[in-house]
């Protein structure tokens, strides 16, 4: 398997052209293997140990409540008791961003990779227009997250690392302290967010640069803006980010349709989760809904 494609320029120098499209297959295979592996673990591994992260979290909640007779008056339990029947998890702005970004991503991946798979159509204009939609949605999200949302909700702190390790230790059957319930997002969500951030910025920034090599109403073409080798790296970063997104999206869609995760998927559609799910899966001290 090749990682990069090289060619010779008119002066006989070897130049980097782009990633090898073998990596697309690698990303697809990774995504499929991850899904198959995770499904197998759900069936074979977790039931045997009876210690999935969710069950551990449920046990922790029950223990906390039982150990505190006056707990109903405690801050955390109080917050749980005060929680509305529908706890808002995603604002309308967040949901619009998510689905706009998702639609743009799918259009981008289809227009980028279907032609490579032999499905031919005039893809380029659709591709860069979808890219602009993606960039607009990212800019909206950056502003929205900075001004309206809680940036700390996706920050990975020491407690996330600690709880993540405890969940992992339990999942492989080791004994140890209970992992605490997370705030709004578990550490896996945060890691996924950061991976999408890196790859999203990767495709978006290089995509804008690549638009200088084609005819669009937005820029005057300037293929000499960078040296050949630099352009090669622009294409490589674009390609790596794109195939990275293939793997990330496969895992994201997989988790979104898992039966035990559908309450989260629904919250990305209707914006809220039930009080029961909130109490069951979140620590009110780490995530207190605003309304």
């Amino acid at each position: 398997m090749d990682f990069f494609q090289y060619d010779s320029n008119p002066w006989g120098q070897e130049i980097l052209v782009r990633i090898s499209w073998d990596l697309l297959w690698a990303a697809l295979i990774f995504g499929v293997l991850f899904v198959v592996g995770h499904l197998a673990m759900r069936k074979l591994w977790f039931p045997a140990h009876g210690a999935t992260a969710e069950k551990a979290a449920e046990a922790k909640t029950a223990t906390d409540d039982a150990a505190s007779p006056a707990g109903q008056a405690g801050s955390a339990a109080g917050a749980k008791g005060d929680a509305p029947a529908r706890v808002r998890r995603h604002s309308l702005g967040s949901r619009l961003f998510h689905w706009t970004m998702a639609a743009a991503m799918f259009v981008l991946l289809i227009t980028a990779f279907f032609p490579l798979l032999g499905i031919q159509f005039p893809w380029l204009t659709i591709h860069w227009v979808a890219g602009l939609v993606l960039i607009a949605s990212i800019l909206f999200h950056v502003v929205h997250a900075t001004l309206v949302m809680d940036l700390k909700a996706v920050w990975i702190g020491p407690s996330d690392v600690r709880d993540s390790w405890r969940r992992f230790a339990r999942s492989i059957g080791r004994k140890g302290p209970d992992p605490a319930l997370p705030g709004k997002y578990v550490v896996e969500n945060k890691l996924y967010h950061h991976a999408v951030t890196v790859t999203g910025f990767g495709v978006a920034i290089t995509g804008v640069l690549m638009m200088f090599r084609i005819d669009t109403p937005l820029f005057a073409r300037n293929p000499y803006m960078f040296a050949e080798q630099t352009w090669g790296w622009v294409y490589v970063v674009h390609g790596l980010s794109a195939v990275g997104l293939v793997g990330l999206i496969i895992t994201h869609v997989y988790f979104a349709i898992l039966p035990e995760k559908r309450w989260l998927t629904w919250s990305m559609i209707n914006g809220w989760i039930s009080r029961e799910k909130y109490v069951e899966h979140h620590d009110p001290e780490r995530w207190a809904p605003r309304d």
Partner: protein
């Protein structure tokens, strides 16, 4: 290191005698190259930019040759030479635009050897691409013909999408105005493409000029009777009057009744990476009288949206005037 040219690389040669044999070979040898007249192919081979391990020469397949009547129209075998098309009485009398276009191709010697399928399937003549530069069309990530210092006098003014090469076929626009169908065998099935859909631009696939993929074989070109005996026009502008590719060519088929254009099909080539049907001009012309003013307006519409490169802005007045003359003169020819 010196570049060795005009040396034929080695390849395994097959010379099937039937279409079925050809398809069998194409199935067995996925990297094979179909050789028709060889005029485009041998140049590629000698320049060593194309080195197929297997070449399938279909010149011995008789069922791919000749002009036959079919459903009131014609079926032209893929291996019919351009000279045979030029001299065929039925084509000359009923579909004269194709005979005129075929006659405009290169020299008598080349027309004796070149075939209709080869003429419409030939690759672009962009010298950056033909010269072996690693451009987009060759799998790279740059168009050397579309840079501030590029020599792009012969390149496109429409339809560029990273690549600015043009399709050089003379017969392609004639087939488009005749609403011809290109018959392609693929595996066990046969597909009939409208001539204008047979050609694809770089926005669809930057490495190909037609829908043909490895394993495909053009078997025939079918011309329906719809445009037979219409008023036709074909004109090719080129640097030399013999043996040259078009700078611009225009083909027209017009149905005129009582001095009014009832219907029209117009196509131009060498202005885009694919032979371009001028649908907007056609729409404007239907129902219009044939006169100088209408023809002039048609020429102006034809060049709307053109984006010339550094050295080919001359193609705008050239296309405009050829379209104008096609509309003005077709009915009186």
């Amino acid at each position: 290191m010196a570049i060795i040219r005009d040396m034929m690389p080695t390849f395994e040669l097959f010379q099937p005698a039937s279409v079925d044999e050809t398809m069998d070979l194409l199935d067995r040898y996925e990297d094979s190259w179909v050789l028709a007249g060889g005029l485009d192919s041998f140049e590629w081979f000698k320049e060593r930019h194309l080195r197929p391990p297997t070449v399938i020469d279909v010149s011995g397949v008789d069922e791919l040759k000749g002009v036959r009547d079919r459903d009131g129209g014609l079926e032209i075998g893929a291996m019919t030479t351009l000279t045979e098309i030029v001299t065929d009485e039925t084509i000359r009398q009923r579909f004269g635009v194709l005979a005129t276009a075929a006659y405009a191709v290169a020299t008598p010697q080349i027309r004796n050897q070149g075939t209709i399928a080869g003429n419409i399937s030939q690759d672009t003549r962009c010298w950056y691409y033909r010269g072996g530069w690693p451009c987009y069309r060759a799998g790279g990530n740059i168009c050397y013909a579309d840079t501030p210092t590029a020599m792009n006098r012969e390149h496109c003014i429409f339809g560029s999408s990273r690549c600015v090469a043009v399709n050089p076929s003379d017969t392609a626009p004639a087939l488009i105005v005749l609403d011809a169908k290109v018959v392609v065998r693929r595996g066990g099935s046969e597909t009939e493409y409208d001539a204008e859909d047979f050609f694809i631009g770089p926005s669809t696939d930057i490495t190909r000029m037609t829908v043909l993929k490895p394993g495909d074989l053009v078997t025939a070109v079918r011309i329906p009777p719809d445009w037979a005996d219409s008023a036709f026009y074909f004109e090719k502008a080129r640097d030399r009057q013999s043996w040259d590719f078009p700078l611009v060519n225009v083909a027209a088929a017009i149905k005129v009744s009582g001095g009014t254009i009832q219907d029209i099909r117009l196509a131009a080539n060498a202005v885009a990476p694919y032979p371009m049907r001028l649908s907007r001009v056609e729409n404007q012309l239907r129902g219009q009288p044939v006169n100088q003013d209408v023809a002039l307006a048609a020429g102006e519409v034809a060049i709307q949206g053109a984006r010339p490169l550094r050295h080919n802005a001359y193609k705008l007045p050239l296309l405009r005037n050829l379209v104008m003359r096609a509309v003005r003169d077709a009915a009186v020819q």
